[in-house]
Symmetry: D2
Subunit: 490 residues, 4 copies
């Protein structure tokens, strides 16, 4: 299957370049912008500057400003990576705010009578105006071009990568984030149910963007759209051919704990009217350029609302989630010497299992130091019944402890410390609780590598969401089921 839906900027040139050509052609004076050296050497950079100046001068009104933006967009798409970096640096540095103007406006603030509310407002408005960089005016023009908003989203995806090593680009990236955050306000998004009757072009993107459990073929996708499955996506009216984020749900009986069973296409499908549980088994962000603009919270809750309405018998809403950081954390602990990882009893059981596995007649007193580490690093134990049995208790316990207790320091002073695992953090922030750990819930290579095969259910209980959210946000308290609580305390 061809996974290459987004063939890079050069690839898109053919399609978009063609589209914008007609718009760009309407304006005179875009001298040489249609035949740049892809590296953007200095003599060509001058043409870019002229084009940017023309566009900002908005000669001929907004319509011709748009035409000039089209010309610049085509120019950008014709550049190679080096050329694009130069283009973005010009935009970032030379079309930033006028620092003197900002400083003057800021200085004027001190002259205002602090009691004069209206004067303060006005003075602040002047600072705000001064803080709007010309590059932002330019970026806005693209929204009026066909697919222009997708162009900006992809430009930001590129900027995010470049800005890591290039602090000068960070201001431009922030401008773009703020612009897109306004345009992708949750109020504009449409929640769409995606089915086998959706456009193939859209489904092809679902296949490409699925980030949690790979969709292996069109038949695999069709199974995931069967009548006991649901797939919902947020879509923006100005880029209807692209999902922003999507979630996959299985309607089942009882809490599902094993992802291979959920995805097994050979198992008979359930009459969804008879299901009592909705399992959210995959949630994927589709647009790298919208990083930091959050929709997931809304998506899950709107889907819960829709499903509650359509299937009154469904009363349990839960995820079946990976624990992406567990193995990493565990490896660090193992590298530090296993100290305190296993209880004495666990160590003893493990020793017996190792003996049984090795066919040793003698009982051993307990696993030696290093045994545990060696076992985890290999993957043989999965095939050994006694070893797997002996590992189940300590790994499950450690995983519960990892999810609930391991924290990263608070970003801002006064805020509560958040949990270390990013998926856990996402769902806890949304108000879910840690419900159940599933031993060997994901036997795939990826599942073993990330979390020694463990998966977790986060439960969304409608009337607890608000309380859980506040307790976590405010005091860092993690809501858990009794069983999980038992594991973390043991």
């Amino acid at each position: 299957m061809n996974k290459e839906v987004s063939p890079g900027l050069l690839g898109r040139l053919r399609t978009w370049g063609t589209l914008w050509r007609d718009i760009a052609d309407k304006v005179s004076g875009a001298d040489g912008l249609d035949s740049l050296n892809p590296d953007l050497p200095e003599e060509d950079a001058r043409k870019i500057r002229a084009g940017l100046d023309d566009c900002l001068a908005a000669r001929g009104g907004e319509v011709s400003a748009r035409a000039r933006a089209a010309t610049l967009g085509r120019a950008y798409l014709s550049l190679n990576e080096q050329g694009r970096v130069r283009f973005l640096e010009i935009l970032a540095r030379e079309y930033a705010t006028d620092h003197n103007r900002v400083r003057d406006a800021a200085a004027a603030l001190t002259d205002v009578d602090g009691e004069d509310f209206s004067a303060l407002q006005l003075a602040e408005a002047r600072v705000r105006d001064a803080l709007e960089p010309p590059r932002l005016r330019l970026l806005r023009q693209f929204n009026a071009l066909p697919r222009g908003i997708k162009f900006l989203v992809d430009m930001r995806a590129e900027l995010l990568q470049l800005a890591r090593d290039n602090p000068d680009l960070r201001g431009l990236e922030r401008d773009l984030r703020d612009l897109l955050a306004g345009w992708f306000d949750i109020g504009f998004l449409e929640l769409q149910r995606i089915t086998w009757n959706s456009p193939a072009a859209f489904l092809e993107k679902i296949i490409t963007y699925e980030a949690v459990h790979e969709i292996r073929s069109w038949e695999d996708l069709k199974d995931r759209l069967d009548h006991d499955r649901r797939l919902y996506a947020f879509v923006h009216p100005n880029m209807p051919e692209e999902p922003l984020i999507f979630v996959q749900v299985a309607l089942v009986n009882g809490l599902a704990g094993n992802i291979q069973e959920v995805l097994d296409s050979s198992s008979p499908s359930l009459d969804p009217e008879q299901a009592d549980t909705a399992i959210f088994y995959s949630i994927s962000n589709a647009q790298a350029g919208l990083a930091g603009i959050s929709f997931g919270n809304f998506l899950i809750k709107q889907v819960v609302e829709r499903l509650s309405h359509s299937f009154p018998k469904v009363t349990t809403f839960s995820t079946l989630s990976p624990i992406p950081g567990f193995r990493n954390w565990l490896d660090r602990r193992l590298a530090e010497g296993e100290v305190g990882l296993l209880t004495q009893q666990e160590r003893k059981a493990l020793g017996q299992a190792l003996a049984a596995h090795a066919g040793d007649g003698e009982t051993r007193g307990g696993a030696s130091k290093g045994d545990f580490k060696a076992l985890i690093e290999g993957a043989d134990w999965v095939g050994s019944e006694p070893l797997a049995t002996a590992l189940k208790a300590p790994l499950t316990r450690l995983c519960a402890r990892y999810i609930v207790n391991e924290r990263r320091p608070p970003r801002q002073e006064g805020r509560a410390a958040t949990v270390l695992d990013p998926v856990a953090h996402f769902h806890l922030t949304n108000g879910a609780r840690v419900e159940r750990l599933n031993w060997l819930g994901d036997r795939s290579e990826k599942g073993m590598a990330r979390s020694v095969g463990l998966m977790v259910n986060y439960l969304y209980k409608i009337n607890e969401i608000e309380r859980n959210h506040e307790a976590y946000q405010g005091q860092g308290k993690v809501a858990t089921s009794t069983a999980i609580r038992g594991l973390t305390r043991g």
Copy 2:
């Protein structure tokens, strides 16, 4: 006909209040907000503050913030004018920026090394953050509510009126303008052709919002949607049931000069395939709350593009426009004593016409001072052939001079002075030229009162638009036809 489509905020309470009730009910703690005293006395204002604080604290995540916004919106709609003013003042004053935080961030700017671009950017970003008032976060919540964006548009319409006498509200009004300007970016608007097959509810709004030539009945509207007429509107995807701005076009042969003829339903309709001219005879803004966010420029040019495409024989695109400020300006000049208004020859001709009208046998030497003023103030002259003939030349000449030469001082230093007439200013900014004045082009009461019956054609010549726009914007030069030039020079 019931013109009351927008029955005021209280009227809307029934519909919207009902809609939001279900959303608002999902959240606890909106104590007493659903039974406020409509005057909003201090004890109730406290409840509003508590509600605003809750919403901003976003307890329970964004979904519950939305629920709290719904509660506050319902509360706002339940207030009378006095109550609403109090509500808005609380929002404006108490949820403004933290001035100390702003001042500190501004002060920090001076400590940054002016050569360190990246540090400057960061310091400016901090000022920008500090300048975002909490009230703006609150307003954004409304977009996620059904019809919430229309709620904000109407709230701004109200704020615009209130802020005239209440400077404390101006900051809030500006926040709302900036927010709406982003959301109503031209790239999000859809150009729709409105026909007799459009929803009746939408057409009813066209009837109500038409601001130039009143639509008197559904039959009148049907005539305006006949096959040699076009009506285009800009619509926003989040309020699809409302036009933002709309333009009405007649497909005719030759430049139309008389609005009564254009609107005459009894005249046979033309095969639009045979037309050579598109007359834009009415353009109306429909949303008072979007004042200052401009779409008209784009609307006209997109319609020109569409019509060019559908009707290749149509090569002339022109308005038939009112001259709303002419009579006012003329009256002021008349009050100042008519000095220099009429040429000697015109005065003489007028004298003869007055004599003929009065049935005087004798010829007179010329009109006396005051005659001209008296004639204009009465309306009898329209019915008198000799008087009308004698007035045609001077009024047409004065009108050309008014449109082209009368200026208002530039808003900012260094900018060119703009023309006084607002409709002229709009079309000249768009790059049109003043083409022709039409004597008695609008004999309606309104037409006589505004412009002594004169109408004007502004011509959009595709390949002149950019040049005209620049000359007007840059040096204040008004593009005119030879005929108009003749009149202004005479």
Copy 3:
């Protein structure tokens, strides 16, 4: 308001003639069909015959047959009534079946061995083929033209009128009926809810076609589409701009008995969620050319199903119906001498009321013969309380008797006799029961003239419909409420 939606065939020429011109132009040899004398004299009739022959010969395949049909359709539309009659007569007589072929095929039937099923089938198929007239092949071509199906529907409307006095046209009319009955099979119709958001052009047709209670204006229509009202129509996918039949429903509390109250726009509207009763107060056929092809039965039952689903609290489904034949029947009985119309007691009460009305002090022994007739013929009694009171009992009783007992002879031997009143017959056939008579339920001029102001509720009880239908269809038994039963027995 312009009620002229269907401006007659000549009026449509402009629109359709234009449409079909392009199709017709594709074929050569339509000599002279585009400039016929509207009377269709013999020399022009010859051109019609040539055109019909060409079309049937289908030279150039089906596509050019369609082009020739377009030419003939345009020719038909260009004729006056006399010309159209001649056209239809040619089609009816000269393009009928080949009687000899039919007779031969029919004769061959007698030679077939009655035991040989397959041979019988084949012989019958030959007769069936011979019975298909060429004119039917021609009519089918029109379906492939834009709006061609509406052309045929309107042609049948015209044929139905003409065939009354012209038996030669009846065969053609029957062909058309059979053709349209297949194409308008209930399985193809779409039930649409019509709202204030429906296209104005469609709503304009609702105003025109409403046959029971006139819609007086667009505001009146808007009231009938308010949130406690429903309007449903059947629409065919090939003529989506036309309703076929539509029904209007009021959601109310309790059985409504007065049509003026139902239609009163000033009464406050009900929250439809709180209603317990759906009143079907108007049902109108919109297409005269589909007479005899019945949809009403399906329409009512599908609407009942939809409303049950949307409004679970609505448990009573009833009409509020006119009794169109009551007054006519009563007038005949009055003309025959009032014998047996009134009981002795009613006559006495009427006499007293007349005396009271006349201000006579004396009591009278009873109304004289002729008094009743005179009263009914005048309309004064409505304004007189004593007279109205005295008339209520006998008129209500007579009306119940008229609806339930008055019959027309069965159409076919062995079938049960049907009731005389056409509206009663329609609802009884559908399985409804006669529920309640409403005294002065329709005080409009039309209501007084048709049924002395009486209206009736027919009740649709879901679990009785089948039984009622069978009893009426099979034995002519009319289902009634206890109250109605009391009136008819009295």
Copy 4:
């Protein structure tokens, strides 16, 4: 890829059975029809008869007739093949016309005065009525069920197969054909362009139904929907999820002669604006149950019209077609002894080529008898340049002769003989001409087996279509290019 879109009637039971269950449940008295023995033994056949009788009696009106039809449909779907044959036989034999009634009505025809047109019409109408079998009334009910029309189409597909050996079923099959022919009238079909944005479920059916050049994967399909390709389908509004027939078009420069090149996904795609030729390279009927109801003629011509409109530069419209019967015909001729197949010169050239291929030094006098046959039967010659060269001339000549000259006897006396090849017959009837033969135009296994690798272009010249059609239909004359004419005369 799972090609099983139509999983047989039993497979559909799950889906449709479920759908119709709710409708069927509304009616009482469908005793035992939901638990039949799949073989339909006599005691269960009785239940079917009772159900059919109930449905025809239409107790409870049309709505309950529909419910009973649903019950019968579910019963039919629950049967195995033997059971279904019994069901259909009951329907065919026991619900046929009443032969006595038909005979009486037919006999009455002879009593009518032959001059009395109106009486004749009436008498014929009575025969027509008598000829309508009850089973037809039953079949019509299915159209009102969801997907009922597809049920009938599939039932006819099954009947067509069964009726070959079971003449008793033929009458029922004909009834169904006539019913479906009316409902699938060309006027109801919608021409849809199918793109990569079409619903995946619809595209999946295109993959399955493609009958000419197999679609091997979703990627293959995507290539066929690329921007220089078009795929059009006829769709019926009542079964929108199913194509009826579809055609695939390649926009190219010059007449394409090689199908592998057309289908090659690795070749760069053309800017369709630059194409001058549209190649119809595949046309597939999708519904076996609509056999004998012809759409192909209309489909090609409507697509030609659309393409002409969208791409004014495209002036050549041609097929690239298989010659399915050539090899068969050739094999019969070879079996008869090659007599007269090759000219002397061709035989000589072939002998030389055989020698060259065998590496024989000596020249031979000519191929021996049997050599030609042996070569054709093997496939080795394709890889041998000298052999292929020697075979090209005679095979091309013979193929031209096969297409143009080989005929099947006329179906009816007086009609012209039609050509033997079915694809040729289809396009010649449509008015195309035989344009060019393409040597090794299809090297696929299927292509070699059907037509020794040859393909043919049929050319649609807009202004010749009518003339070609008439000449072929009338006198059996086949239109050809000069080149083809040369080959057939040689």
